[in-house]
């Protein structure tokens, strides 16, 4: 029986040649996916919230509800 001699060297290098570019691409894809599904919508949501934000109105609403200790509701 004369089998061909199996490959004895360079096994890791061969595996890396194949898998390393794939790993880099997957990492970039993961980052891009996160950016465009989570980060960008979140930034937009905050921008939209603060476009129409009236801080005094919200402050007075909170004051009337009685959550502050420095200012009590206007009735008392």
């Amino acid at each position: 029986m004369s089998l061909p001699k199996p490959i004895m060297r360079g096994l890791l290098a061969k595996r890396l040649r194949f898998h390393l570019p794939i790993a880099c691409i997957m990492a970039l894809l993961a980052g891009a996916t996160f950016k465009f599904t989570v980060a960008e919508p979140r930034k937009q949501a905050y921008a939209d919230f603060y476009k129409k934000y009236d801080s005094m109105k919200d402050f007075n609403a909170m004051r009337e509800a009685g959550v502050f200790e420095s200012v009590r509701p206007s009735g008392e």
């Binding site: 949501a45 919230f49 919200d58 609403a61 909170m62 509800a65 959550v67």
Partner: protein, 198 residues
């Protein structure tokens, strides 16, 4: 020739099982001293008992010698499976010293069985052990569940008042009044105009 009872070490009462020559069956009358160096000598009676040698069981003295094992990660065990060969096996071993093309298939298998107990296929055969393992796991997890349930009833102190329905409702109202996470989180899901969840 040699008597059936093993020769005894002159220093300690252990039979001469622990010399290489004794093992090879050539213990000589002169050298009746073993390498234990008197370790099993009966000592002075302290606490009312003496220490004698353990009963020489055949398994006892094999632990210090190379042993055979069937393991997937040890392809060549320390010693062949069959030590004592019959006459047929011995002649087969002689034939093995020649060119192997002369050996028939049955002879090759016989030689394999002399060297090894089980083939890799036999070693890897599936067993039903997993059923026992899972059964045991589920049984003990169930037992633990019963113990925990008993604990809940008889051991735990009363719950804090912050767990009551009324308290929780007041807590939620206070969080909405404070506008906790109004952009994307808690209060963002509450409709302040209508006074209900979105």
């Amino acid at each position: 020739m040699k008597s059936k009872t093993p020769a005894h070490c002159r220093v300690c009462p252990a039979p001469v099982l622990f010399t290489i020559k004794a093992i090879l069956g050539r213990a000589r009358k002169r050298k009746r001293k073993c390498i234990l160096g008197g370790a099993f000598r009966p000592r002075r009676p302290t606490c009312g008992f003496t220490v004698f040698q353990p009963n020489p069981v055949s398994e006892q003295n094999m632990m210090s010698l190379p042993m055979y094992c069937d393991r997937l990660d040890i392809p060549l065990p320390d010693k062949p499976y069959q030590d004592v060969l019959s006459a047929a096996d011995k002649s087969l071993k002689q034939k093995e010293k020649g060119p192997w093309n002369n050996l028939s298939k049955e002879e090759k298998i016989a030689l394999y069985r002399i060297m090894f107990k089980e083939t890799y296929a036999e070693m890897k055969r599936p067993s039903s052990e997993w059923k026992t393992v899972f059964g045991g796991i589920f049984f003990f997890v169930g037992l633990t569940g019963l113990v925990v349930f008993w604990q809940r009833i008889y051991v735990y102190p009363p719950s804090p008042r912050t767990f009551e329905e009324e308290w929780q409702a007041k807590q939620v109202k206070r969080m909405l009044d404070m506008q906790v996470n109004p952009v994307e989180g808690f209060s963002a899901k509450w409709d302040y105009e209508k006074g209900q969840w979105k």
